[in-house]
Symmetry: C2
Subunit: 712 residues, 2 copies
């Protein structure tokens, strides 16, 4: 049986996390083009500009990600770097070490690029090596050992060995067989262990949980409940074996598959929908030049990132009056996620994921599905990442860019009269969307950056994919002695969708018309009138409070104590004297209610507030810390902010955390209809007046002439 | 000069509120068709189904609005109704008196319609007459006098006389001339007086404020500040004249006009945008039969309403498993608006509007602008309303219905592998939108009802139009001794955008699989673990609290004390035993902070909570009361709810209030880029599983073949 298991393992592994592609492409260069072509064909649709040839690509901009050739060079440099000559480390991170901010802002197209450097996290002999490699001079210019308690992001080999190890354990195999499950039907997942004190620290631990994929691709809905094997991925040994799952059946595979090929034969029970498509017969209006995107009044740099997924840099908007490009944001990206599940039991307590730092949002992003993940006419951007052997590989179609017209209204007004002064003015809203989608195990995170012509940037997080479900003996609620005490909702027979939260912290380095900005709490306060002052008893008064230090900017939202939150340039005033600025406009949100001293909350402490503001510090990028895996939370946004540094009229970074409480429901089974929330970055006295006042209305004459394809 | 003024008045009037059309069409029937044709031509685009011929239209459904012929009949009946024979009242409201709910649910297509009745509010000799007229029997079946303290909605004649009266007052004319303004450039507005105690009650009062339209159509940006004339619209006399505005200049007209014809010559300063359009070469997928709309798995009744604007009735969704139509909502509509401005000074304190009950959202809705207010392929629905003389008129293209594909994702998941088990599944999201846009004086309210195939209904309110601005002597902030003490933002020279709130209360009569429902507060509570129970210190626990009476369901949102709010059918369980239901999912929101005893807050008391639940009571439709104009707030949602009636397992109505704080900024000048917020009604254990699991993916072959029109 053990033999049987091991033979099936590579296959099972590849099924589980999106990593074969990595080993595959990074190990065989010739296949690279073939692979790219394959994706090209898959995409079917023309792209507005042709893709780069990654084999010959050279960087065009100081912030361009490392090219295939540069990553190869870095690998060569590290191979001959003395500490690594005896044995080469595993590379957990390799990406651009960005030049200093001032160099980047001062760089102009045509200037020589600042020195190209790589940021590398390499793991060797139980130690995390954080290095900066200068590519031009082939020098390691910085090398720090174990700067923090945690470990680097998990690499494919870690996960592969982690899920292999249990199959060498007789107890594990017996547990599987006792349940009547074929080992060949078992798929295991390498779950991040979180950090829970002395028993589980000082070594790299992964908790392995398994599923049966018999009869379905949706193995997530068939957990082998209660069987958790803790393994040391360095020593490659089982540290702790537990099986709390006796008597808990494995849920049936019926109705769990979600592939169209598997469900299309059942009736849909709705009226058919005619094809509908966003059509641009003259093509999209945006231009992509390498990693620079230009559209309408916007220009920004866009790149994939192994950890953040997508990074938007140097977002600038053209002034509607002067026509000058003006700085809005130096850098924006999802910094960390925190996903605590609400079940303290032995098999579940540790499920408190930090997906960016433990698995990588970019590394988990697979090629987008044309026409379904992104509309026709979308432009697809590939990522070039480094594998754990230091070699580069290409993740195709990882980002898409498209123009959106959703039938919305940018502004309107009607005045009524039949006279020559009748007014019926309305303008259609057209926007530009940048999208990526990460499949971190069961969950899918879609992250949109939407740019509007009125200067607004909407950041939207969309959740889909599969629930993390818990097996239960109960088929229906009446069998449950106390339904209230289940850790979630019975979403199907023998399956509980466990309650959980999602938090995504965004790093928003605002540079409104320059680097030195201030954070202003524009507070709305109830003001009672004095006797005789007015027939009114009360009204709202605006009080502007400029944050002096970080603690002034630790913000918890209160519906009954509202404020607007402005980032302004105190050194630049509008024509009538208002400081120019942007405000962050929250949409729906949720806060973490966990105990502040709870280990997961200490690591996810960036959720202690919805807004934070820190002085710019290039080392403070990751809200949960640089080394998140099993980290103890000594390097988080909350720790940095506690230093209470001055932030008035300084180069500041705004941090916004978007949250969701998720109480699952049956509609989330077997795959979740997408749920979303967003926040906006909105100009406030940044423009002298409505910047889209002069946008032209849609006219019939401009609309395309279309016919159904099938009538071709 | 007085002569000069009066001659210009009809013209000025027509400019100010959208009412000429009314007088126009209602006074000349022959022009009706011409008028309709005119609008048809204006629309340019074909509609998926042909419009009704209003002259011959007969009702098809118990909830269909009164037809042109029916309104005419009602007018005839009232003319011979004894109390009105001596003198005919002014008709402030005439619309369908809906049949009892049970009759409507039990009615099937083909059945005879229940008796057609009209609900009428008629004003005569200082008294409000509330009547129900049976059209078949030509009888007045109910007649109540002055049921409440307030007065009915303002009619065109009220506003016309209100804004004429000041011109007969020498002080008024002098004030205008002292400012060097030509009377012929003056446009006045009839502002609702609110209710501020004994001095301003017992008679119908309108406060007249004026503007200069010299050099611009955007007279709102040129207020004649401080000049407020309070008039008695019944006695047609000036009650109170005040001018606090001496020394406050009228802002320049420069840069205030927003019409494309007036601004297109200035440069736009952005890259051009190629045409983009939602194309459906096979046409839209929805069907409109009279007022019934059918699309995908949805069916609902849709009608215009003079006060609410749009009413959605009998919303039903087809079950994804059984294929049966299931009840979701009996009736949904915006019940009242509350818009308090935050300036207690003499010329501003009373600006606390309740737009639905004072002006009428439907009456203020003008024809939508094709291709800009709504996309190509939108279907436009007309309204038939009654004028103040009781005669009917047609408001064309008041509602639009369209299908939306915005490039969004309905659900997705990727599993990574190159094997035959590779999974890359994604589905595009297509929705159906119902839209209306009311121009209530300066402000535009766009209200969208968006239906999704996954059973979700999104209700979205979009704000645009013009700010209500206050004149100030200051051209720039440095001239202001204390900027903090201004009641808003200096948005342009001599203009303050005054801080204000918007609240829109929605009446949502949920009937989940039947009339008897319960409201459940699904509370997320922090639970500390007991020592040794778990390495975790805390987690979230779900507690379901069923509301027994109304006070249990008076909900204020708290970020740190969160709940889900479910309307469930306690008599119907899902396969695994969950009660079937829908939840209301808040998006961004704002609460009223005004003193609970402040007169405007007493009238707008429906904003004291974000959610209320009341037992169904056909007389409880308008959250601010039936007679809102100068009402004292004795007939509001807050008063009804205070009775604390049982609501468990009863026919209940959910009330949700969406709020906005608006601190104006320069970008809002001279016309506001749209701002929006929304809430969702989302199925929760209503379907046994994901209802869109089997929706087909988009494929290349279905996409239209388009070319640019100009290349035709």
């Amino acid at each position: 049986m053990a033999m049987e298991a091991t033979t099936t393992l590579p296959f099972l592994l590849f099924l589980f996390l999106g990593l074969l592609l990595i080993l595959f492409t990074s190990s065989r260069y010739p296949s690279l083009n073939t692979h790219l072509k394959f994706i090209r064909i898959q995409a079917k649709e023309p792209s507005p500009t042709s893709h780069l040839d990654h084999l010959t690509e050279i960087p065009q901009h100081p912030l361009d990600p490392l090219t295939l050739q540069e990553i190869t060079k870095v690998q060569t440099i590290l191979s001959s770097y003395s500490p690594f000559t005896s044995s080469f480390p595993t590379i957990h991170t390799v990406c651009l070490h960005e030049p200093d901010k001032s160099l980047v802002w001062n760089w102009n197209k045509g200037d020589p690029l600042p020195p190209r450097q790589a940021f590398v996290i390499a793991y060797l002999d139980g130690k995390s090596n954080v290095l900066v490699v200068d590519i031009g001079s082939s020098q390691v210019v910085s090398h720090v050992l174990n700067p923090y308690s945690g470990y680097p992001i998990l690499i494919p080999e870690d996960m592969e060995s982690a899920i292999k190890i249990p199959f060498r354990d007789a107890r594990f195999n017996k547990s599987i067989m006792d349940r009547g499950v074929n080992l060949s039907d078992v798929i295991c997942g390498p779950l991040a262990a979180g950090w829970y004190g002395p028993n589980e620290e000082g070594r790299r631990l992964v908790k392995v949980e398994c599923f049966s994929h018999q009869g379905t691709v949706n193995f997530y809905m068939r957990p082998i409940e209660g069987l958790i094997v803790m393994v040391d991925v360095d020593k490659k040994e089982v540290v702790h074996f537990t099986d709390y799952g006796h008597g808990i059946p494995i849920a049936e595979s019926t109705n769990t598959d979600y592939r169209y090929s598997a469900v299309q034969n059942k009736p849909l029970n709705m009226n058919p929908i005619n094809p509908i498509s966003m059509e641009q017969p003259k093509g999209p209006s945006f231009k992509v030049d390498g990693h620079m995107v230009k559209w309408a009044n916007w220009e920004f740099h866009l790149k994939p990132h192994p950890r953040a997924g997508v990074v938007i840099s140097q977002a600038m908007v053209r002034d509607s009056e002067s026509g000058k490009l003006r700085r809005v944001m130096y850098r924006g990206f999802p910094s960390e996620l925190f996903v605590p599940y609400m079940d303290p039991s032995d098999a579940w307590y540790f499920k408190t994921y930090m997906d960016a730092g433990e698995y990588g949002m970019g590394l988990s992003a697979l090629p987008l599905v044309p026409l379904n993940d992104c509309p026709r006419n979308a432009y697809y951007m590939d990522a070039v990442f480094g594998a754990s052997d230091g070699k580069p590989y290409v993740r195709s179609n990882m980002i898409c860019i498209f123009e959106r017209y959703a039938g919305d209204i940018a502004w309107r007004h009607s005045e009524s009269s039949f006279s020559n002064m009748e007014v019926r003015e309305a303008r259609a809203k057209i926007t530009l969307v940048v999208r990526m989608a990460a499949s971190v195990g069961n969950y899918d995170y879609i992250i949109d950056w939407e740019f509007q012509m009125d200067g607004l940037i909407r950041v939207k997080v969309i959740l889909s994919g599969m629930l993390m479900v818990k097996g239960t003996p109960y088929q229906t609620l009446d069998q449950a002695p106390d339904g209230q005490n289940m850790s979630g909702t019975l979403v199907s027979e023998n399956l509980i969708g466990v309650v959980h939260d999602h938090f995504i912290a965004f790093h928003l380095d605002m540079d409104i018309d320059g680097s030195d900005n201030s954070f202003v709490n524009v507070h709305l306060k109830k003001q009672e009138t004095s006797p005789g002052e007015s027939p009114r008893k009360s009204y709202l008064k605006v009080e502007r409070q400029v944050a002096k230090t970080e603690k002034d900017a630790q913000i918890k939202f209160k519906l009954y104590d509202p404020s607007e939150y402005h980032v302004v340039n105190p050194n630049k005033k509008s024509r009538v004297g208002n400081p120019v600025g942007y405000k962050v406009v929250p949409g729906g949100n949720a806060a973490s209610l966990l105990d502040l001293h709870d280990p997961p909350q200490i690591r996810g402490a960036f959720t202690n507030n919805q807004i934070w503001v820190t002085p710019y510090n290039r080392s403070e990028e990751w809200a949960g810390g640089l080394l998140v895996f099993q980290g103890k939370g000594e390097d988080t946004l909350a720790v940095w902010s506690e230093r209470d540094r001055p932030i008035e009229n300084k180069d500041i970074v705004l941090w916004y955390t978007l949250g969701f409480h998720h109480i699952p429901c049956q509609e989330d089974f077997p795959i979740m209809p997408s749920v979303s929330s967003s926040f906006d970055l909105k100009p406030v006295n940044f423009f002298e007046s409505n910047p889209i006042l002069r946008v032209a209305p849609n006219v019939q004459e401009d609309l395309p002439v279309c016919r159904a394809a099938t009538s071709a």
